[in-house]
């Protein structure tokens, strides 16, 4: 599709050109996959507003864009996890409909997820055939080993015996085994969604080698990443998405980091949010030499009470690992944390709580809410000790406390006895925040991605509640992968990359461009932007 190569973004959404299989004939190569004018809405929110792109055999296509740009939705559509509301997909010129992942797999499209799907107790060989459509139930072990060895060789893991238990592999090796698994499915298009987020530099290099090998075989690869250096190093072409649209699709050689950041930001980069609140000068929270093996490397900072600190970093940057460590949820964390002058020991959430720290996980369903319990029970979860006298707890005291919190967070009091799972994502998050409000002993509130999966309206409400907590003197540390949220909510912005702090600055002293650059570029790699 020649349109995609042009600089003019408007031409990207011309369906007539893109839909025609002969459109790419002037390249001499028929695209393996052509996506035309794909639209997808979730309720009132349009995640994709007409995206077109094509990918040639043997091509590595990078996709950039910050959170909410529509990358994940597009990948879900390509891998059959979601169906588009409008638009078409063609594979080798043939119109196809991918209703479920198996359909996509049958056409040779496979997705490597952000989450690892290696089963630790199985051997490498067994993991390699896991989940394959059309795999025989009983596989002869000899054949299995042979096939496993062949697949491992293709991703540069020929030194690993197929019978090794997967749990003995390092993180990067697991990632490579996953890629090998996808190759074993006769994948003609590999979709890698943030494959390097959790990997070390050496491991990343091996993933890159594997990807290049795959492309050299004539297979196509889509590489979704926040890390601009990696995209520029690995990909032949880059598509930048913003706000549900493909704003540009250009050959990598015509791009540099500065231009990529500009494309990702669009007009939003120019709007500056309202002036931040003044931060207190006391050192209510100090952290020194905080390390979590493999995740956080020697981090230190100090913040005053009532300050809202935004920790900006992509998945795997260590932003959420810092919060977990301070909450006492990471036993192998080391370093010193003091809250209001008292030192806090790691490795026990109850010690953290006693020091006035509360943590809200980014995984609302698994680690935040008590899903079958009532809204009342969830709001009161951490304050039963204060509501009870000598261990006795009256239903009236519970109700009074919950009603006060519910009105604070804007949940109707009549619903207090309903199970919390009947609430929307935004309201569930408000319940979690409500748990931490009206608590004078709360010195530090740790929020891991507080608006994940929350719509725009709910987000504003949650931001209001976070400011409310800060106004009461609580220091708030929140992590976010979303630039807008960081710029909107923070008094102080901490940017992180690969387990290290890149910079700490008051919000008025930094800019969205700078934050985005610091979140996405390896500071050690130097700046060639």
């Amino acid at each position: 599709m020649p349109n995609g190569r042009r600089r003019d973004p408007a031409s990207l959404t011309t369906p007539a050109d893109a839909a025609s299989p002969v459109a790419s004939q002037d390249d001499g190569v028929e695209p393996f996959l052509a996506v035309t004018d794909v639209v997808k809405a979730y309720g009132a929110v349009e995640a994709l507003k007409g995206v077109s792109v094509d990918i040639a055999p043997g091509e590595v296509l990078g996709i950039c864009g910050h959170n909410g740009a529509g990358k994940s939705t597009l990948m879900k559509i390509l891998s059959g996890l979601e169906s588009p509301d409008h638009g078409s997909l063609r594979i080798r010129g043939q119109l196809v409909q991918l209703r479920q992942p198996q359909d996509a797999q049958r056409h040779g499209i496979v997705l490597l997820d952000q989450e690892f799907s290696i089963v630790p107790v199985l051997t490498v060989a067994e993991n390699l055939v896991l989940g394959n459509v059309g795999e025989r139930v009983l596989v002869r072990s000899g054949a299995l080993q042979r096939r496993a060895r062949e697949l491992l060789a293709r991703v540069g893991l020929s030194h690993i015996p197929p019978e090794t238990p997967a749990e003995q592999l390092q993180l990067g090796e697991r990632q490579l085994v996953e890629i090998a698994r996808l190759l074993g499915r006769d994948a003609t298009l590999l979709i890698l969604d943030e494959p390097t987020a959790a990997l070390s530099r050496g491991e990343i290099a091996r993933v890159f080698d594997a990807v290049r090998g795959v492309a050299a075989d004539g297979r196509s690869v889509i590489f979704v990443s926040h890390r601009l250096d990696e995209v520029l190093t690995l990909c032949d072409r880059v598509m930048v998405m913003r706000d549900g649209r493909a704003v540009a699709t250009e050959p990598t050689r015509s791009l540099d980091k500065g231009r990529l950041v500009d494309l990702m930001l669009g007009a939003a980069g120019q709007e500056l949010p309202a002036a931040p609140r003044r931060a207190a000068e006391d050192q209510a929270v100090t952290v020194s030499e905080l390390s979590v093996p493999g995740r956080v490397d020697q981090v230190q900072f100090a913040f005053g009470s009532g300050t809202i600190v935004g920790v900006a970093g992509q998945v795997g940057s260590g932003a959420s690992a810092i919060l977990r460590a301070m909450a006492g949820l990471t036993p192998d964390a080391t370093g010193r944390v003091t809250v209001r002058g008292r030192q806090v020991r790691f490795a026990a959430p109850r010690r953290a709580k006693a020091a006035g720290i509360q943590y809200i996980s980014n995984d609302r369903k698994a680690e935040g809410l008590f899903l079958s319990q009532t809204i009342e029970g969830n709001l009161n979860a951490t304050r039963f000790s204060r509501l009870s006298s000598n261990g006795w707890l009256s239903p009236r005291a519970r109700l009074r406390s919950a009603a006060a919190l519910a009105s604070l967070v804007g949940i109707p009091a009549e619903r207090l006895r309903s199970p919390v799972r009947t609430l929307s994502g935004g309201n569930q998050q408000k319940v979690l925040l409500g748990r931490c409000l009206r608590n004078e002993s709360l010195a530090l509130l740790l929020l891991d991605d507080p608006t994940r999966g929350v719509d725009v309206g709910g987000r504003a409400e949650i931001h209001r509640l976070i400011r409310l907590a800060a106004a009461g003197g609580t220091t708030v540390l929140f992590s976010s992968t979303e630039l807008d949220e960081i710029m909107e909510l923070s008094d102080v912005v901490v940017t992180m990359f690969a387990g290290r702090i890149v910079s700490i600055s008051a919000r008025q002293d930094t800019s969205p461009e700078r934050v985005l650059r610091e979140m996405t570029q390896d500071p050690a790699a130097g700046s060639n932007a």
Binding site: E367, A381, R398, R417
Partner: protein, 327 residues
């Protein structure tokens, strides 16, 4: 189940309908079997006599007290204890032995031994995250071993002249264990509903990960739940010993499994987070009533056991349907 679900809805305020319905769903299995049993009972001559109803109550009391005590373990997300029957038998032996110190002293010591033995198991499960099934099986073997070792493998006879009239009396015509059963149910229910411990137990049972992140004291709560189960099992043991006037390890019979069956038939959520002592109370009654009907109809022991098995199987299916609907 439509009977129970529809009734209160029309009378409660709109606001709490949803929560109530979810909770009522859990009573569905008991309700279904209740109706089923009522029909069977009405058509079985001799069932609806005062004498028989009293004997149903009495026969459900021992299992029922253990089941009610098991309930906090289940609600706390730790499945079941597989050795409460052993604990009951061991405590029965302890009670009989300590009667020489006095009646009150013997009861207190027996309950303390039961609470301690199970509390330790709870600590293992809570603090170390040990699997409750394995811990309770192992603890059952240990308890049996210690009891056999100390008693020399013989039964412990109550000392001559020991008096426990109270435990064998029948105030108002009902045998004492029936009162103990009702008393235990009410006491555990109050602990579950009206204490900080009870409130937090439901949360821990609902999600251990969320409880950990919310900094709840999982160890203390789990230890508490197991301690309650031990005290209740010991209470059942004391009643068993006073009924038989002697105690051996054989007293445990199939109480462990029967109590689990009662907890399940009562519709307590196996995964934790939902349930009540009253549900286990009803579960024990349903099983005892079904057994009584089978007896009165002259079914063989095999058929009686078969009926219990079918009831359990039915509960699993019904609960599955009920929870699927309430989501």
């Amino acid at each position: 189940m439509s009977v129970t679900a529809a009734g209160p809805d029309s009378t409660t305020a709109f606001a709490s309908q949803r929560g109530d319905r979810t909770r009522l769903m859990l009573f569905a299995p008991v309700a279904v079997f209740g109706v089923f049993l009522a029909v069977a009972a009405a058509s079985t001559s001799g069932f609806l006599t005062t004498g028989n109803l009293k004997s149903v109550l009495l026969s459900s009391a021992f299992v029922g007290i253990i089941a009610v005590g098991m309930t906090p373990i289940t609600i706390g997300g730790n499945l079941f204890s597989l050795s409460l029957g052993v604990t009951a038998a061991v405590c029965a032996m302890a009670f009989t032995y300590f009667l020489r110190l006095g009646f009150g002293e013997a009861i207190v010591l027996a309950l303390a031994i039961g609470g301690l033995a199970c509390g330790l198991q709870g600590w293992l499960v809570g603090a170390l995250g040990a699997n409750p099934i394995i811990v309770t099986i192992a603890a059952g073997l240990l308890q049996a071993a210690v009891a056999t070792w100390i008693s020399g493998g013989t039964s412990v006879l109550a000392p001559k002249g020991a008096s426990f009239h109270l435990l064998t009396s029948s105030p108002l015509g009902f045998a004492f264990p029936i009162y103990a059963f009702i008393g235990a149910t009410v006491a555990v229910e109050i602990v579950l509903r009206r204490t900080r411990f009870g409130s937090e137990l439901y949360l821990v049972g609902d999600s251990k990960a969320a409880a950990r992140a919310a900094a709840l004291n999982i160890t203390r709560i789990t230890t508490g739940a197991f301690t309650i189960s031990g005290i209740c099992a010991a209470g059942a043991g004391v009643l068993l010993a006073s009924t038989y006037n002697t105690a051996t390890l054989n007293l445990q019979g199939t109480y462990s499994y029967d109590a689990i069956a009662a907890v399940l038939v009562g519709g307590n959520a196996v995964a934790g987070g939902r349930g009540s002592a009253i549900q286990s109370f009803l579960g024990a009654l349903v099983i005892a009533a079904a057994t009584s009907i089978a007896l009165l109809r002259g079914y063989s022991t095999g058929v009686q056991i078969l009926i219990r098995g079918l009831i359990l199987l039915g509960v699993v299916v019904l609960l599955q349907i009920a929870t699927a609907r309430s989501r």
